[in-house]
């Protein structure tokens, strides 16, 4: 046993040495046209040696270390906590959501401009997370191309405003409906697919939309993107210093207050908040309605759901369409916030981040998705110094989450439905 441990530890240490020495310990220096190989400085060698030693010791005493780690886990007082009774839990979650919304309403009037701007982005991600949660968490359909619907919403507003001078409030429903239409369209080819195959097709769909936007240069401007997207107005009042569209008035003139560029940021934030709350409430209602239960049946067992007379077509299409609808919402707000969009904003990484929000939050759990959206958006901003390592930290966080909380931050607590007794 001990001999085996030492052998294993030695092996790991040698691997560490083999990997780290050529990468860190050797430098290529260009001298004129020649390239000279030279060693790094002494501190790097000490670092490599230390790393090798740490790996060796860790592997050697691994059983003891993991044992003490699990002892720490056992000391966690929340570990054996009993689940709350259902009615209490539902009330608690509702109270938490209401508190969050009230806090979010008041907060921008005290916070700095930068943080309000960031919060708007958080709200956009909350909308996206809640929307994708319908498809992935509730209906159990793995969608890796969700960003496509976000792009459709954003581009609908951008292009309509560019070609037809259409305002935010008209574009908002149009963008959402068009995104929903795309969701409906995507639903057809994937009706028969499940699991991995579904994931691949949706991934392809996401890329198709992005590449189309990139190459339809005459319509979308291609990689140059679309700029000059107007800000939303409040009953015909604009938030800029000067009025851009004829017939509109200006917010600060109507209320006779000095012009402040923060007004616009706060207004946009409030719009995003309103839409996020709408998304939240609508989806909460849907889950309790027959369509929500049919999503659940499909996720649990497709054959059983069909044996009860549910139409696979209808259930899947409704999940894709409704999920896409809210991505369209989010896209319109995003376009308005940025004022400029290009295909670069809608790469696969965005889909991955939205999916990470859903998975981190706990599939199907709305409060979890909200917390995860905040974490995924705000933490990188706080840790700006580490921005080079952003993806590394992100990956590590995902791995740790899957080890300690495989169900997500706040696992979905299903609402049990009972027939009322007479």
């Amino acid at each position: 046993m001990v001999a085996q441990n030492i052998k294993h530890a030695l092996f790991c240490a040698v691997i560490t040495l083999i990997i780290s020495y050529p990468i860190l310990g050797l430098d290529l220096i260009a001298e004129g046209i020649q390239i000279k190989l030279s060693g790094a400085d002494t501190s790097t060698y000490i670092g490599i040696a230390a790393a090798v030693l740490i790996v060796f010791l860790f592997q050697l005493f691994r059983p003891a270390i993991t044992g003490s780690l699990s002892a720490i886990g056992a000391a966690n007082p929340l570990r054996d906590r009993k689940p709350l009774p259902q009615d209490k839990r539902v009330r608690l979650e509702r109270a938490a959501l209401i508190l969050i919304v009230i806090g979010a309403l008041l907060w921008p009037f005290f916070a700095s401009r930068g943080s309000v701007d960031l919060a708007t982005l958080v709200l956009i991600y909350i909308m996206l997370g809640l929307g994708l949660n319908v498809v992935v968490g509730l209906a159990g359909l793995l969608d890796l191309g969700y960003v496509a619907f976000y792009a459709v919403g954003a581009y609908t507003f951008a292009l309509l405003s560019q070609y037809y001078d259409i305002s935010f409030w008209v574009a908002l429903p149009l963008g959402a409906l068009l995104a929903a239409a795309f969701g409906f369209l995507l639903g057809f080819p994937v009706l028969r697919l499940r699991g991995d195959y579904l994931a691949i097709v949706t991934l392809g769909f996401g890329e198709i939309i992005r590449i189309l936007l990139n190459n339809l240069t005459s319509l979308t401007g291609g990689p140059n993107g679309v700029g000059g997207i107007p800000d939303p107005t409040l009953f015909g009042m604009e938030f800029g210093r000067r009025i851009k569209t004829e017939g509109n008035t200006s917010f600060h003139e109507v209320f006779n207050i000095p012009y402040n560029s923060d007004h616009k940021v706060i207004f946009l934030y409030l719009i995003a908040l309103l839409l996020a709350v709408v998304t939240l409430v609508v989806i909460r209602r849907l889950v309790r309605m027959p369509v929500g239960r049919s999503w659940e049946a499909l996720r649990e067992d497709e054959i059983a759901a069909r044996s009860l007379g549910m139409s696979r077509t209808g259930v899947k299409l409704s999940a894709f369409t409704i999920g896409a609808f809210f991505a369209g919402f989010a896209g319109t707000v995003f376009a308005s916030k940025q004022g400029f969009i290009s295909p670069e904003s809608f790469v696969f990484l965005e889909s991955a981040i939205i999916l990470a929000i859903v998975v981190l939050g706990g599939m199907g759990s709305q409060l979890g998705v909200i917390l995860a959206a905040i974490a995924v958006t705000v933490l990188p901003e706080l840790a700006r110094e580490f921005s080079e390592y952003r993806m590394l930290i992100f990956g590590a966080a995902m791995v740790l989450m899957m080890i300690w909380r495989p169900q997500g931050l706040l696992p979905m607590s299903r609402v049990h439905i009972q027939l009322k007794q007479e």
């Binding site: 027959p290 239960r293 049919s294 659940e296 049946a297 649990e300 067992d301 054959i303 059983a304 759901a305 069909r306 044996s307 009860l308 007379g309 549910m310 139409s311 696979r312 209808g314 299903r414 049990h416 439905i417 009972q418 027939l419 007479e422």
Partner: protein, 233 residues
């Protein structure tokens, strides 16, 4: 009640059923027995419309349902208890039943649920337990109960005895018998030929996509060929 007329069913180019005709009358239990790969499940799936028959007709209560969609067929009064039970394991017993009554109104559901609980008192005891944590027999009861929640005129059972202990199998078959006594039409597909034929009013023997024999249950039980091939006698 259900008539299959000269059904041919294909999977791609391969023909799995070569002209099968089956007749099920109202209020009787009809058993379909056959070895692995004989086409029993294909026959059931053809009734459900997935895959659809490539020729022949499926007539249910005087209506041609051959080319209707699965969801339409399942809502027209046929209920199927799929092979392997397939309860919604993350949902409670009551929620499973509720899913069964998806297309019924609340009053109907309340009544049917009481009826199912009378039929299976065990389910009532476990009404708020997760279905996945129950024993195989209880899950089978739940699967039957869930099918009954659709208020069917006819119920199709695909291998209800699969993987169950003999004593539980007897219980399940007793319940199937009592369903018939209450006027339900039952189409039972089984590998457990002895018990299926004992219970059945009539039976069919399916062999490599063709109906080999058809008779009353008792006659089939006594039939020498059937005994040799299916009853280990």
């Amino acid at each position: 009640m259900l008539t299959l007329e000269n059904i041919h069913t294909h999977y791609g180019k391969i023909e799995a059923l070569h002209g099968v005709s089956v007749e099920i009358n109202e209020g009787e239990i009809v058993s379909l027995i056959g070895a692995n790969g004989a086409g029993k499940t294909t026959l059931l799936m053809t009734v459900c419309g997935d895959p659809q028959a490539s020729s022949g007709r499926v007539i249910f209560r005087g209506e041609d349902i051959t080319h209707k969609s699965t969801s339409e067929i399942m809502r027209s009064g046929i209920a199927i208890v799929p092979e392997g039970r397939r309860v919604f394991s993350g949902l409670t017993v009551e929620e499973n039943l509720h899913m069964g009554g998806f297309f019924q109104d609340k009053d109907t559901n309340r009544k049917t649920q009481d009826y199912v609980f009378d039929l299976f008192p065990r389910l009532k005891e476990r009404r708020s337990q997760r279905a996945g944590t129950m024993s195989g027999g209880e899950q089978q009861m739940l699967a039957i109960g869930r099918a009954l929640m659709t208020r069917p005129k006819m119920i199709i059972l695909d291998e209800p005895s699969l993987g169950l202990a003999p004593i539980i199998i007897r219980q399940i078959f007793d319940i199937i018998g009592s369903l018939r006594d209450e006027g339900m039409t039952v189409f039972l597909v089984e590998q457990n030929a002895k018990q299926a034929l004992k219970l059945a009013d009539r039976g069919y023997v399916l062999e490599t996509g063709r109906i080999r024999l058809q008779d009353t249950g008792a006659n089939l039980l006594a039939n020498e060929d059937v005994q040799k091939a299916y009853l280990g006698g």
